[in-house]
């Protein structure tokens, strides 16, 4: 597949630095609101960073030919902080997150700058991404690629599998879905609450998709999996991640799905944050 930029050692180091800043910014924002879904944003951080910085082609005087949907809408803070860094959202937008004066809420709202679809209700992104990819490739005959990040919780929605079946039927090869497989949902560890959810890879392959499985916090692995895909079918990258990655006491603890850290927890978190290398 065509690549836009090389992902060398230097790129990986830069990505790690960016992701550290994103996590810091999200922790800062967490002090403004009570519910922040920070852990869900931390598990997707490296994947969303890779999409924005290395996969989406730059806008050439207008909109990028490619599209990104944060299907796991509850993790959208990582999208917001990257859009802020890119100048698509403003600092004020982020400062007013979830306030009556602002325009950004806990879930992406179509119409806000950089937000390509309203998500937050799980199981919607796959079908919308399929429809967008189909339009680009089969109707408009463009070369636009549609990227989506979905959660493992979303992969339990029947609507997601309906759309996956159709994406394969429709023969779209410009659909790249990253599964943020952090193995946790509101109720606990998915392997325990929903054992028949596994195996994932074989199920997705049986639906006619190409699949790669990588460490979802490893920039180089993410980039390489996507750019080296065969591209004859829709493609899913299973990113094995850690919910709350980056802050030791948030990692894999269900409570942090919603909660914002207290001021003292915030200080602890900021103090221990460091670059995630894998």
């Amino acid at each position: 597949m065509a690549t836009t930029k090389n992902a060398d050692h230097q790129s990986a180091e830069k990505a790690q630095k960016r992701c550290l800043q994103y996590r810091r910014r999200i922790l800062d924002i967490s002090q403004q609101v009570t519910a922040v879904h920070g852990a869900a944003a931390f598990s997707s951080t490296e994947m969303v960073d890779c999409i924005y910085h290395h996969l989406l082609r730059p806008a050439n005087g207008g909109k990028s030919p490619d599209t990104f949907i944060m299907s796991k809408g509850h993790g959208c803070l990582i999208q917001y902080v990257i859009l802020e860094e890119l100048g698509i959202l403003t600092r004020q937008d982020l400062d007013l997150y979830c306030t009556a004066e602002g325009r950004l809420g806990c879930h992406p709202d179509f119409g806000n700058p950089g937000v390509e679809a309203s998500t937050g209700s799980l199981g919607h992104g796959m079908a919308m991404a399929t429809g967008m990819a189909y339009t680009e490739q089969k109707i408009l005959k463009n070369d636009g690629i549609v990227y989506a990040v979905i959660s493992d919780g979303e992969l339990q929605e029947g609507s997601t599998w309906e759309a996956m079946m159709m994406a394969a039927n429709l023969g779209v090869t410009n659909l790249v879905v990253m599964l943020d497989h952090n193995g946790f949902q509101s109720f606990g560890r998915t392997a325990e609450t929903h054992p028949a959810f596994y195996p994932i890879r074989e199920k997705v392959e049986a639906f006619g998709w190409e699949v790669a499985e990588v460490n979802g916090h490893d920039f180089s692995a993410i980039y390489s999996a996507v750019t080296k895909r065969k591209g004859k079918t829709p493609f899913m990258m299973i990113g094995n991640t850690i919910k709350g990655r980056g802050v030791s006491f948030m990692e894999n603890i269900p409570m942090w799905h919603y909660r914002s850290p207290s001021p003292s927890e915030y200080q602890l978190a900021i103090a221990e944050l460091k670059e995630v290398t894998q």
């Binding site: 679809a117 309203s118 967008m132 990819a133 759309a163 159709m166 039927n169």
Partner: protein
Amino acid sequence: MRNSFADVIFELGQTDPRICALVADISPAGSMVKFREQFPERFINTGVAEQSMIGIAAGLALRGMRPFCYTIATFSLYRPFEMIRVDLCYQNLPVTVIGMGAGVIYSTLGSTHHTMEDIAVASALPNMTVLAPCDPEEMRLATRWCATRSTGPVYMRLGKAGEPNLTANALDSFEIGNLRHLKKGSDVAIISYGITVSMAIEIATELEANGKSVSILCCHTIKPLDVVGIENVLATHTQVVVLEEHVPHGGLGARVKGIAWDMGAKCKLKCFSLKDEFIHKYGTHSDLLAAHGLDVKSVLQSLGST
């Protein structure tokens, strides 16, 4: 009615490359076959998967297309309801959802295939336009409007095939959002939509035989409702009758009662609808309507005109 829908889609699809048709395992007939053959890339059959039909249509619309989603009404609206609410209405996308065979038309198939609450359900959604044409000509005009003029989501309920043309001599032209007189009188006004308009015409004929002067109004746009038009009807008749193949809750009858209360209407008002029941009965469409108490004889009896 469904044939005129397909004719319009095929005709407009020739010149407007944004028009797409999505179906959920409903075998296309007539012009829909021609559309599929001529524009295979703009025809998608999602199989028995209505949620993805709506979600994929939303994706198409997010990329500038104007999709029509088409299947049996109960499956086009209820099964993918949350996709319609979030993907279409919340994002305000120009996608038309066609509910075929609404009401109790599928009279031998049981309540799994009856669509008795669609007007209430669809009308409750912000940004949604709700249309219910009464004959093939209204269907043609409504489809044309959806394809060329709508700016957001539309739910359009329709009957099956073979409905007669009822509006050839209508006194008003078809305008989305406006009540339409099929006939103007001064005593009784009957307001209806969809295929019960033909029943309204039969009832009017009987009332006229009893010396009444009767208006018949076609309310093809349920949302946005022509509130001023309904106020005028309530103000200029001694009796107003609402007739609809829909449960009492959240239908046109409830809306007209609300308008009558708000304006302090002085006329008598009677609303006839399906019962708030799943009836376990099979037979012809007329048999089922009669079992719900929605037939010419029952209505006339209730109006004291037999």
